[in-house]
């Protein structure tokens, strides 16, 4: 499956700014840790279809973690 929103999870610092701006509220925080020791943000595969590719998350992200695509 092709993802609309892709997180470079190893660069994520779990600030949750992306979570706050997502109009579809589909960005979640993992319970596990990434290499930096943060709980990275992600969009579950089952919610990828709900993404409207507005890219607000990517424009808000301070760490350039997020890339957004549309079909």
């Amino acid at each position: 499956m092709e993802r609309r929103v892709r997180f470079n999870e190893d660069h994520c610092k779990s600030c949750e700014l992306c979570v706050s701006v997502c109009p579809k509220k589909i960005i979640k925080i993992r319970t596990g840790l990434n290499r930096l020791g943060y709980h990275p943000a992600y969009v579950p595969d089952e919610d990828q279809e709900k993404c409207i590719s507005c890219a607000l998350c990517a424009r808000m992200c301070p760490d350039a973690v997020i890339e957004v695509w549309r079909p």
Partner: protein, 247 residues
């Protein structure tokens, strides 16, 4: 799939040292996007200042010089005078630019030096651990204004954009905020204009970006954005203060 947003090419692929949620990262990304869109990566030279942005050179894939505290506009002047075809920008915080570097920034503007200044205003000294900055708001608590900034003792915040807009040599002076996507988009347009004006040889441009420091403000990244919107934006009005030669 069609790309809507991809990581800027002129941003290096490393994890920054900035704290989680720090808007420095957003400002970096906007500058990198601008460099990409204008196609100037191969002729851009950045000048890093002292403060949290001291490591800015690690994050941009362009030539860089690291300047002494406050002196970035002077260093940029030296670079631009030797390399007039280079696109030269400084990236400075409020301690660096508005306190120790006040002389350099005012005179670079007065000379109409054809450089672009990205000025991060987060109302505090971040790198050194949260001391009072010239931009600290009245009443704001910092480690060196532990009871809140008291104008009788510590004076008032310095408003750089308003001040530089009175300088004839400054061509473009604008203030934006990084607290939400809409404002970030406006900031991006301002940064792009500032670089374009330099490419057109118009002279000095400065973009002030209201930013957060959640660590030293003692807030979550989200609450810091809210505090910025509610407290800093009223004190530091947003907008383009000057475009063009005549003040």
């Amino acid at each position: 799939m069609i790309p809507v947003y991809t990581r800027p090419k002129s941003l290096t692929d490393v994890v920054s040292h900035y704290c989680p949620g720090c808007t420095h990262g957003i400002a970096h990304r906007l500058v990198a996007e601008t460099i990409d869109e204008l196609g100037i990566q191969g002729r851009t030279v950045g000048v890093a200042s002292v403060g949290c942005s001291v490591f800015a050179y690690n994050y941009f894939d362009v030539d860089f010089q690291q300047a002494a505290h406050g002196r970035a506009p002077a260093v940029a002047t030296g670079i631009k005078r030797v390399r007039p075809d280079a696109i030269v920008f400084t990236y400075q915080g409020d301690g660096d630019l508005a306190s120790i570097g006040m002389a350099e920034i005012v005179h670079a503007a007065a000379r109409g030096e054809n450089i672009t200044v990205i000025f991060i205003n987060n109302a505090i000294y971040g790198m050194t651990g949260g001391q009072m900055a010239p931009t600290t708001l009245v009443g704001q608590k910092t480690t060196t204004s532990p009871f809140g900034r008291d104008p009788r003792n510590q004076g008032y915040p310095v408003k750089i954009s308003e001040l530089l807009a009175t300088v004839k040599g400054a061509y473009y002076v604008a203030r934006f905020s990084l607290h939400d996507p809409a404002n970030i988009q406006r900031a991006k347009q301002g940064i792009k204009k500032a670089f374009q004006y330099q490419m057109e040889g118009k002279g000095f441009s400065l973009v002030e970006l209201l930013s957060t420091c959640s660590t030293n403000w003692g807030m979550t990244p989200l609450n810091a954005l809210k505090w910025l919107e509610e407290n800093m934006v009223p004190e530091y009005p947003l907008g383009e203060f000057k475009t063009g030669e005549v003040s």
